[in-house]
């Protein structure tokens, strides 16, 4: 048989435990919310980075296309490397087998 004092002690401990659990729950809840916000920051940063990378890809694609501009390539090949277009009689046809030669 529990005495009155013991009963009070038990109910106080229960309340304390409930409060601690509630507090831990609140801390956990806040922690989760904070980590959610942090993930939000990270996501936004990564999204911005992805956007930058995609823009870089476009920029590089444009740069590559500009460098492959045939006007520029022809100028470089003819003026700097000294190449020229072949005359018709310089073209040699190569056969792979005798049937094709016929």
């Amino acid at each position: 048989m529990k005495t009155k004092g013991e009963k009070k002690q038990v109910s106080g401990t229960v309340w304390l435990m409930v409060s601690i659990i509630l507090f831990l729950f609140l801390v956990g809840y806040l922690g989760l919310n904070l980590s959610g916000v942090n993930y939000g920051y990270e996501l936004q940063e990564l999204a911005a980075y992805e956007k930058t990378l995609l823009e870089d890809i476009h920029r590089l694609e444009a740069k590559r296309a500009s460098l492959l501009n045939l006007e520029r390539v022809e100028k470089t090949v003819i003026e700097k490397l000294g190449y020229q277009y072949p005359e018709p009689d310089q073209i040699i046809k190569a056969f792979e087998d005798e049937d094709e030669e016929k």
Binding site: G5, K8, Q9, G12, W15, L16, S19, L22, V37, G40, Y41, Q44, A47, A48, E55, H58, R59, E61, A62, R64, A65, S66, L68, N69, L70, E71, Y85, P86, P88, D89, I91, I92, K93, A94, F95, E96, E98, E101
Partner: protein
């Protein structure tokens, strides 16, 4: 004693619990006040501080050629503006800006006027180059005056191949809207659709959440049938010949003979598409689809095909060519070289106008009109380009007494170079009227040009090809001959109406004649000095054909000395 200690501990724990409970109650009460009673007010305040709704402008789609090489692409660029808070400071700042970025006199005048007027927001320069942006950023850092320079990010359209394919691509305006060519024709598809999004920021303006309100639809990529390499050397040769003959302009259309796809479509003078807004309207005109002219003798291919198809005469039948002068009503038709008699074949090979008029008379008005219409004249081809002309083909009721004769050798009607290329391709393709097309695919879906209409029989095509081959081997088109390969073609020279000594020289043809892969039509507008199609247009056809043969690996039957076995 122990009971006393227990009581004291119990009291302290109870007091602590009461404080803790009150604290929790206070927090809970505050939360209820903030989240429930003042919810609407607080949300509005937070949204005003941290939410920003903005428009997501989609990137304009890229235009590629048939090999996947970029023809037009959009990249981010900065546009500079001036916050005009003090006119004197702004003017000084603008003078510094002028040293770091290029401006036209008109732009300088306009900006100065706006500063004087006291406008608060003034565009300095849209879509700066990277170097200009860097220089202006340095100036912005150094600037401590009341007025300020700032930047806005926009998209800039880049055409990496310069003026190559300019008339096909067209151009865009300052707000990236398509204004001409493919850019205009497929603007709705290429530009995409802008969307709306809301970004949430913290007190330090860092974004931590993005909510898409209306999703943006990115612009779709467009693949064309043109081959940028072919387009490049076609334009180069065209430019060379237009300059050589001091002509007003010129056009070349190159078609895939089997499909009707446009491999190249060049017009000269051309222009850099990235400067579209600053180019005179005349230069941006795509002559291949908008230049109406009399086809002249090239039209004899159409006339001959109709005559053979309708069994009007055999290729060997002879016609009286009246020694170069033939009177029809009150008009006299003449030939450059007078002939007393010519066969049907000879009329086309030697390009006799009188002979053509005689063939036309045998065909008759109705049959000729229907035949010409069946070749696609008098209506647009339906190519995916804006501003295409339909040409002129008058209905029979509007014909005069000489119309039949004149139409037979390519007068009293107007055509575009593309229509003529299409007509020549009927013979090249084995008798099919094909719809010429430029679009290869959008968003991975290939374009289907539809069924081809057969308008000539195999026999007519074979006979017409042989005649056109003879034109190049022994007739007026000798200058188009390429060693080792059979070319079928026809020359044309037409006089411009109401203009003294102004001509249009043309040459159309296809190769290899026995198994055509390429159909090409060449037009030179108002050449100076020599003006016959055989002297002006045929050599251009040959120069392009020689390069096309190498590029497309259509190897001519070469001399054995130039062959090796692997």
């Amino acid at each position: 004693m122990r009971r006393k200690v227990d009581n004291s501990l119990h009291k302290r724990v109870f007091t602590l619990f009461v404080f803790f409970f009150l604290w929790m109650l206070f927090i809970f009460g505050s939360l209820v006040r903030v989240q429930v009673f003042n919810y609407g007010k607080n949300v509005a305040r937070v949204q005003a501080q941290s939410n920003r709704t903005f428009t997501m402008n989609p990137q304009r789609g890229t235009i590629y050629d048939s090999k996947g090489d970029v023809l037009a692409i959009s990249v981010k660029a900065k546009s500079a503006f001036l916050s005009n808070k003090n006119s004197v400071h702004s003017m000084a700042l603008f003078n510094s800006v002028r040293k770091r970025a290029s401006f036209t006199w008109k732009q300088v005048k306009d900006i100065r006027n706006r500063i004087r007027k006291g406008d608060k927001f003034i565009w300095l320069k849209r879509k700066l180059s990277d170097a200009e942006h860097e220089r202006l950023e340095v100036l912005k850092e150094k600037n401590h005056s009341e007025s300020d320079i700032d930047f806005i990010e926009e998209y800039k359209r880049i055409y990496p191949n310069g003026s190559t394919a300019s008339h096909i691509l067209g151009g865009v305006g300052v707000d990236e809207q398509g204004l001409a060519g493919i850019e205009y024709q497929f603007d709705g598809t290429i530009k995409g659709r802008s969307g709306k999004a809301r970004v949430l920021r913290d007190a330090r303006r860092r974004a931590f959440s993005l909510e898409v309100l209306t999703p943006a639809r990115p612009g779709k990529d467009v693949y064309l049938t043109i081959d940028s390499s072919i387009q490049f050397f076609v334009e180069k040769e065209l430019q060379k010949h237009v300059k050589k003959f001091k002509a007003k302009g010129g056009t070349v259309v190159v078609l895939d003979a089997r499909e009707g796809a446009v491999l190249a479509m060049a017009s000269y003078p051309n222009y850099p598409p990235d400067k579209f807004g600053r180019i005179a309207a005349g230069l941006t005109r795509n002559r291949a689809v908008s230049f109406n002219y009399h086809p002249g003798s090239t039209f004899k291919v159409v006339l001959g095909s109709i005559a053979l198809e309708k069994n009007v005469c055999s290729p060997q039948r002879e016609f009286n060519c009246h020694n170069g002068r033939y009177k029809v009503r009150d008009r006299v038709i003449t030939d450059v070289h007078p002939y007393s008699k010519l066969s049907f074949e000879g009329i086309i090979v030697h390009s006799s106008n009188i002979g053509a008029a005689k063939i036309g008379e045998r065909i008759g008005k109705k049959r000729l009109f229907n035949g010409v219409k069946a070749f696609g004249f008098g209506r647009r081809s339906g190519i995916q380009l804006p501003g295409e002309e339909a040409g002129i083909l008058n209905p029979i009721k509007k014909w005069s007494g000489v119309s039949l004769a004149f139409l037979s050798y390519g007068y009293e009607m107007a055509v575009t170079p593309l229509q003529m290329a299409r007509a020549f391709n009927v013979v090249a393709s084995g008798g099919y009227l094909m719809k010429p097309y430029l679009l290869n695919k959008i968003d991975g879906v290939f374009y289907n040009p539809g069924e081809h209409e057969k308008i000539l029989s195999r026999g007519t095509v074979t006979r017409m090809t042989a005649i056109m081959k003879e034109v190049v081997d022994a007739g007026t088109g000798k200058a188009a001959r390429v060693a080792g390969i059979d070319i079928a073609g026809k020359t044309g020279t037409s006089k411009k109406i109401r203009k003294i000594r102004k001509y249009v020289s043309s040459f159309g043809g296809f190769f290899p004649a026995e198994n055509p892969r390429v159909t090409m039509f060449v037009v030179i507008d108002e050449p100076k000095g020599v003006y016959y199609g055989g002297d002006v247009a045929a050599p251009l056809f040959r120069s392009i054909a020689e390069r096309l043969l190498i590029y497309l690996r259509i190897f001519p039957e070469l001399d054995r000395r130039n062959s090796i076995r692997l």
